[in-house]
């Protein structure tokens, strides 16, 4: 088990290198000159521009630039932006916002998705089941832009105006965990729908298994047959899905962060791509790649805990 973890972490190194190089090359290939853009409408003194280019190694070939970046990264230096702010300082607070948002979304997804899915499975073919499936279809069909603004208006604004309930902040991250409820739900929307359906299918399938019939024949109550024997097995594919989804939630927050004006890495990423801030973009992407890798590793390890038939050597 320990050797497996080490091997998986070692495998992450080439993945991280490849991903950063790719992103670096893409930023490099963007049209336009970031130094000229820095001066805005005014003309920049060519000597100053040259000095800046020299300082940021912009005249060097791609691979050399990448080398400078990686050696800096290994010494804990994420580089500086063109406006001379260290990238690490720029990102640290924003990562916190995005992580809070992603985990709020993940928790909402897990609780609502699995809850609704189990409920639907246990009422298979009845009205509840059909209603839950209809709701998931709605969640999948309506885009984030619509759910975001509608929830802002209904739960944020109207609820306060008509009933005086001021519980859901509509923008910013100033109200602690409550600030993340609405954006978290919006971000998790489609994932909730998929997880609900996956949970329903998984439990319905499991309840058909031979060992469920055995458990019933042992004289166990239906509650115990479902709660212990079926659930343990039905949960296995759901954990995989949830783990893999964490990366998606982290990287997919650009629109949600904009709607709810959360100052996270999604907004920063969009802005930095626009300004051709290579080190910032690569820093964010490297972080996301690491999140994916670690989340997948945790999922694989959890898999072995949940399903004893799986062993890692």
């Amino acid at each position: 088990m320990g050797r497996y973890v080490i091997r998986r972490l070692l495998q992450a190194i080439p993945v991280a290198l490849g991903a950063t190089l790719l992103i670096f090359a893409l930023v490099f290939a963007l049209p336009g000159d970031p130094i000229t853009a820095l001066a805005g409408e005014k003309r920049m003194d060519p000597a100053v521009a040259d000095a800046l280019r020299e300082q940021y190694h912009l005249n060097d070939p791609l691979l050399l630039q990448y080398w400078y970046y990686i050696t800096g990264l290994l010494q804990g230096d994420l580089g500086t932006t063109f406006s001379r702010v260290p990238v690490s300082q720029l990102l640290v607070g924003k990562f916190q916002v995005t992580i809070n948002l992603a985990f709020t979304a993940l928790i909402l997804e897990g609780v609502i998705g699995i809850g609704l899915g189990l409920w639907a499975a246990l009422r298979k073919g009845k009205a509840t089941d059909t209603a839950i499936l209809a709701v998931t279809l709605l969640l999948i069909s309506v885009p984030v832009l619509v759910t975001g603004f509608v929830l802002q208006l209904v739960l944020g604004v109207q609820l306060k105006k008509s009933l005086g309930i001021d519980f859901f902040p509509v923008a910013g991250a100033f109200e602690g965990w409550r600030s993340y409820l609405l954006p978290g739900f919006v971000l998790a929307g489609t994932s909730i729908a998929y997880l609900t359906r996956l949970t329903r299918t998984s439990l319905v399938e499991t309840l058909r298994a031979d060992y469920i019939r055995t458990a019933t024949a042992k004289g166990l109550t239906r509650r115990r047959v479902i709660g212990r024997h079926a659930l343990r097995n039905a949960l296995i594919p759901l954990v995989t899905y949830l783990g893999a989804d964490l990366g998606t939630l982290m990287g997919g927050a650009i629109i949600t962060e904009s709607i709810f004006n959360l100052n996270g890495i999604g907004q920063q990423l969009a802005q930095s791509v626009y300004l051709r801030e290579g080190p910032v973009v690569v820093g964010i992407v490297t972080f996301l790649v690491m999140v994916y890798i670690v989340a997948n590793l945790i999922v694989d390890l959890l898999y072995a805990v949940l399903d004893p038939r799986i062993r890692y050597e």
Binding site: A209, D210, Y211, R213, T214, A215, T216, A217, K218, G219, L220, T221, R224, H229, R232, N233, I236, L306, D307, P308, R309
Partner: protein, 345 residues
Amino acid sequence: MKKTAADVLPTEGGLGNEPLLAVDDLHVEFTTRQGVVKAVNGVSYDLRAGETLAVLGESGSGKSVTAQAIMGILDMPPARIPKGAIRFRGTDLLKLSEEARAQIRGQRVAMIFQDALSALNPVFTVGWQIGEMFRVHRGMSRKDAQKRAVELMDRVRIPAARQRVHDFPHQFSGGMRQRIMIAMSIALDPEVLIADEPTTALDVTVQAQIMELLAELQRESNMGLILITHDLGVVADVADKIAVMYGGRIVENAQVHDVYRAPAHPYSKGLLESIPRVDLKGHELYAIKGLPPNLLDMPPGCAFNPRCPYRQDNCVSSEPPLYEINSTRSSACHYWREVLDGSHG
């Protein structure tokens, strides 16, 4: 006053002349999209303590459905029991509340299944699964239940039980898994054990060991054993009596040696003749012609008539009742005399 489970539960009564378990004119049907499938149409058999009844028949003959009805583990719906009774020590199980039935299921009437790999839960250790019987039904602690699980694994002769109690089902061989299944079913000393094709998934040498184990456990505890199988070879050594099923009905009831000597129903006769025999090596193996009946569209009269070499006109026009041949024997064939004579000759 509302009766509690203890008031209606059969206790010591029913022994003596009364059988331990009596299935009486049981009907089971399933509602499907294609129509109503009549899986069991008036099955009756009984079982006494210490006795082994073999229920013989091909897939779809209703033998497993009857067993699941006894256990009360049929999914209802789609299943329905429109008629019949299942008396355990004189009490009709079908009239009991679900609560009262749960007190019998697994504790006094237990069951083992065909494929032990899929019948055991893959994510729990075998010790946990055996011990669950003691924890749930006897309120034992985890530790005591584990100790009892080891004892039971010893009793069904699983080597190194003390270590293996922590293993998962997939870590055992097929024969050992079936022993685990048996250990779990006999955990609470049931009075009736139903074994639904317990050896079908195993190879021949292991089959013999499992049958021997079941026979031995039965001798020790005097429980009644219902052995469901399609394999006549398995039956001969261990069963006392036999019920042959076809198309959801019992076509022949007999002591096991009587059937082997001279079957009284064309279907039992066909089954016996289709066993490979050393003295007939080189001859073509006999096979019953035709296909099992479609339960959605049963042939009129006797269900076996399209495949029967003894068929006469009245086999199509009237369904044969279960004719009593003597006190231990009956056959659902209008021409049982001819079949019996033909068998002797």
